[in-house]
Amino acid sequence: MEKKDKNMNSGEELKNETPREEKPTNPDKKVKRRDVLKGLATVPVLGIFAWGYYKKRHMDRVLKQMIRDELGMEYAPPVMSTAPSSGRQLRLGVIGYGHRGPQLMKAAGFVHPSWIDAARAAAEKNPMDKRYQEFMEQDDLNIVINGICDVFDIHAEEQMAAAANLKRQGSEGKPAYPVKRYRTYKELMAADDIDAVIIAAPDHWHAPMTIEAARNGKHVYCEKPMTWNLPETYVVRDEVKKSGIVFQLGHQGRQTESYIKAKEAIEKNLLGKVNLIEVTTNRNSPNGAWVYNIHPKASPKNIDWKQFIGQAPWHDFDLKRFFRWRCWWDYSTGLSGDLFTHEYDAMNQILGLGIPQYASGSGGIYYFKDGRTVPDVQQEVFEYPDRNLSLLYSATLASDKDRGKVIMGHDGWMEVGRTLNIYADRESDRYRELIKNGKIDPSLPIYSYSPGRKNPDAVTTATEKYFAGRGLLYTYREGKRVDTTHLHIKEWLEAIRKGTQPSCNINRGFEEAITNHMGVIALREGRRVEWDPDKEVIV
């Protein structure tokens, strides 16, 4: 034992001992062999590592390949065009520059010079703030904005400056061309130097403006919801179809990569028989509950109140109603029109739902007792007996609990937002064997899609976080983060140039509007409503 011990010892001891063992004729040889053995003693470990590593990799690959073969799903992102805009320059008019208007114009490539100043300064202060860089790198859509319209003078002035900021400059720049401010949308729609319009006015104006645009042959990009009441929905559809204009409804989720992958998964029947869909809204901030800031300089002198009211019931001048119009049925359709329509359109995109047969709804004003008339907590249930499924919408504006969009089927379920995760159901028939022999673990996703993981994201406000998490703020193209609204406008412009139909066209818009009105009527009248597809009426 002692001798062995010494053999394993190192350094000085070895030196002390070796002379005894050495043969005087060949002093170096023995030392070398022993030292080489000691030197290589741990090399076999590397062999074991390599074997283990190979086995594990091989098993992982086989499993992944097996799942891929079984599911028929590719892990690669969907192939989407990233080609820059080409073809003729289009001349736009933009109506509305309140909350959504500036976002839409930015997505189209136009911001107020002060935005550039602020974003540039913010990026210098915080390198994580990539808004400036992303905006400057955003594709040039080859458009000009010749006309704008807003009933609030200060917003209209800002909108003019943004529309003239073709070169994306800060306050050091000069307007690229004169932009005309139209006092009424009708004058803007009649202008000869405008080919297409973006409508970002309050909801009760969407239909009248779209109808006017169609009658004037102007292509339309309209914010959601498509319409504010049921009767105008039919007129919008008929006028758009009759005129042949290219209509795109502002559900920018159509551009979200994870939704496109989700659709692929449904087409590959990964979930089996889908029977329940749950979509949600959770926000918990005044901004998220539409309590927007009131401009300190706003007054009856600089707001065309009568034009704001339009077809809505008359009400005396009220700054709250002007800036926070989403809180009143008089101008909006509440949670349903503002947020459910996005969720619905995502499901319509993924599952091709169409119009439900029945709708019911309930809710109340349980938290924001600020004079609003639309509920801040709301549930809507839509029945699709022909598809054997229910669509449930559940919303609150006073809790930030994160709930995703979940599609539930007999064989599996998926959660879709910015990312997509698909799980096999423990009781699935399709995956029964694979679960039984351990190839599928129901607690882990069988398919997971999480784009842009290599690029850290900085999302600044709670409302932005809400939209980003639901895949509505930005998506990815070839791994690069892109504003979904930018892609949605780009698709619309390409469709105008090529004479094709965009993804959220008038047919999808009609389905969105009818579904929204079914939910709203059911909620407000406290009854279950039914859609008669032959007569196209809600009964």
Partner: protein, 165 residues
């Protein structure tokens, strides 16, 4: 530091086993990262908390810096792992390993009042497995063995020197 290496077989054996196991851990962590095209340290760095979190967050600001950090981390882990298993450039590998583990520890210090969005697999108060692994490397640093390729090279070098004389 004066070096004396009069270890028993057991002492040497377990020092070498310890070195090999830590090397294995490093090597596999590096291999997993380098073979995953989607891997990036961004999420981990952004989850950093504590007094050095500003520094770790700042590493994600620029894509070029982040890519360098990723590259150094992946190859650092692999080379340190190989060095520890094979006993090659052992002292340098141990030193680099300590440095890397110190960075991991400081980016996610398990101090009272700090919590991370990525949950750990155990419960830690000030001491975590990273700190223990780092300390184990310190032990290996002060208790070097002569098992490994370094010893072969050393003997070769010495015999060449002797031959030259």
């Amino acid at each position: 530091m004066k070096r004396t290496c009069n270890y028993t077989i057991g002492q040497t054996t377990f020092l070498v086993i310890l070195r090999t196991l830590i090397g294995w851990h490093f090597l596999y962590e590096g291999m997993v990262k380098i073979t995953n095209p989607d891997w990036s340290s961004a999420g981990y760095l952004l989850d950093s908390r504590g007094f050095l979190s500003g520094f770790f967050h700042s590493l994600t600001y620029k894509a070029s810096v982040l890519h360098t950090v990723d590259f150094l981390n992946e190859w650092g882990l692999i080379l340190i792992g190989l060095g520890l298993i094979l006993g090659l450039f052992t002292r340098f590998s141990i030193f680099a390993g300590i440095l890397l583990l110190a960075l991991y520890y400081l980016s996610h210090p398990p101090f009272p009042g700090i919590s991370f969005s990525v949950p750990s697999e155990g419960s830690y108060l000030i001491v975590n497995k990273t700190l223990i692994e780092m300390t184990a490397l310190l032990v290996l640093y002060v208790f070097p063995t002569r098992i490994g390729l370094d010893a072969v090279f050393q003997v070769l070098w010495k015999s060449r020197k002797r031959a030259a004389k």
